[in-house]
């Protein structure tokens, strides 16, 4: 008997639907509805008493780590952060509930976006068993109720292909640009100052930052950075100056997190094993400035 070992990727993906990507109405509709899914207020000022901005960063960093380790689809993390922000914009929450909420939001986002979603048990283990699956499931209903079951939020990822398609780009560079843009989007989701920005602006800024960053090492675009920004602004009807500011903020966040990462490394908080594990493109180490 011969045994044949074929390792097959268990997740099957549909090919990108060109009918959707090439129809401008899709992009226009996304632009029209995206604001509906933004959090209603800057909740640290007006809703939350216990939760501070740095706690959001802590829970976001943890969520990103879980999503990376579980190799979630790229959209899961930003979508989960959208749920978290929308919930916190409406419900005053003690900080001791924050990690549970983060887990619930990942649970929901994963179910919405993935063919094989994260399990409640797994997520509880990631909280070091500080919550029980039953609690996660009960809070799932609470979060759903507060979000009015409105889960199909527009995320920056929804715009990426629409934007890339309209750039005068060599095809072979596209996947690298896409990968870097996705990294920037994940970084933005960890930082509260982007939580109220329209997803289209984050997407456009991320693509701009990705191309300008890559441009320093190799020719990936025939456009100068300024010309690129103008073209990008036109694609998503964004104000050029806003977009420039957004892109600069995105680049600053990357710098910050790279410094933070190097700091962590110097502090020796990560062992060699752990360094080897991360390999997804949402890893900041994949990017060099």
């Amino acid at each position: 008997m011969e045994l044949l070992c074929c390792e097959v990727d268990p997740v099957r993906r549909a090919v990108r639907d060109q009918n959707l990507l090439q129809d401008d109405r899709v992009l226009q509709n996304l632009l029209t509805i995206e604001e509906r899914y933004l959090p209603q207020c800057s909740y640290f000022k007006c809703v939350q008493k216990d939760i501070q901005p740095y706690m959001r960063r802590m829970v976001a960093t943890w969520m990103l780590e879980v999503c990376e380790e579980q190799k979630c689809e790229e959209e899961v993390f930003p979508l989960a952060m959208n749920y978290l922000d929308r919930f916190l914009a409406g419900v005053p929450t003690p900080k001791s509930h924050l990690q549970l909420l983060g887990a619930v939001c990942m649970f929901l986002a994963s179910k919405l976006k993935e063919t094989i979603p994260l399990t409640a048990e797994k997520l509880c283990i990631y909280t070091d068993n500080s919550i029980k699956p039953q609690e996660l499931l009960e809070w799932e209903l609470v979060v759903l109720g507060k979000l009015k079951w409105n889960l199909a939020a527009v995320t920056p990822h929804d715009f990426i292909e629409h934007i890339l398609r309209k750039l005068p780009q060599q095809r072979e560079k596209l996947s690298l640009i896409r990968k870097h843009a996705q990294t920037f989007i994940a970084l933005c989701a960890t930082d509260f100052k982007f939580a109220m920005y329209p997803p289209s602006m984050i997407a456009t800024g991320s693509v701009g930052a990705a191309i300008c960053g890559l441009q320093q090492d190799e020719e990936v675009s025939s456009l100068t950075c300024d010309a690129l920004t103008e073209l990008l602004a036109k694609i998503t009807n964004t104000d050029v100056d806003c977009l420039k500011a957004c892109q600069e903020q995105i680049e600053a966040v990357l710098l910050n997190s790279l410094q933070q990462y190097r700091q962590d490394q110097r502090d020796g908080s990560k062992s060699e094993d752990e360094l080897d594990q991360a390999s997804t493109p949402t890893d900041v180490r994949d990017i060099d400035l």
């Binding site: 993906r13 829970v59 003690p94 179910k111 409640a120 909280t127 009960e138 809070w139």
Partner: protein, 193 residues
Amino acid sequence: WGKNRRQQDNSPNPSPLPSHQICCSHPGFFCSTGTMSEQQGDGRQIPCSRKACRRLFGPVDSEQLQRDCDALMAGCIQEARERWNFDFVTETPLEGDFAWERVRGLGLPKLYLPRDDLGGGKRPSTSSALLQGTEQEDHVDLSLSCTLLPRSGERPEGSPGGPGTSQGRKRRQTSMTDFYHSKRRLIFSKRKP
């Protein structure tokens, strides 16, 4: 694009909607004994590295969690009750903008029919009123449908409970799309700032 892969270690949950009856009892989770290491030589099955498994904000008070959960849930249920004039706990129609009536033959998939054998959580089963009578067979698909009444109009008097009570100016609805249509109108009419 093709980089993501995850082991098929999930519960066989066929529903995209959250349902604790289905999700919470996943028997074969390989990490439940607390070993955070890989299983049987498959490097991808590391469920949890020591670094990512951590509690962020100290101990979690289960009792407070439960109290807050109950309070928020009660708020959600009350909100839904007012919006739909329907008591979702006891599954009874109330006075209000919508006239609720039982409908037959929606052809609901089995998934949406009550499954008493999966109960066990503390939440009330949401579907006990979906079935009426004694014919609890697989393909008895009875459900409730609601109709938006004209805002200024009088409420029809009949009880909305039985299948034969449609009367007056109430528009009969028999399909799910009609249901969603009326829902959309209600939200738009109420939510205009």
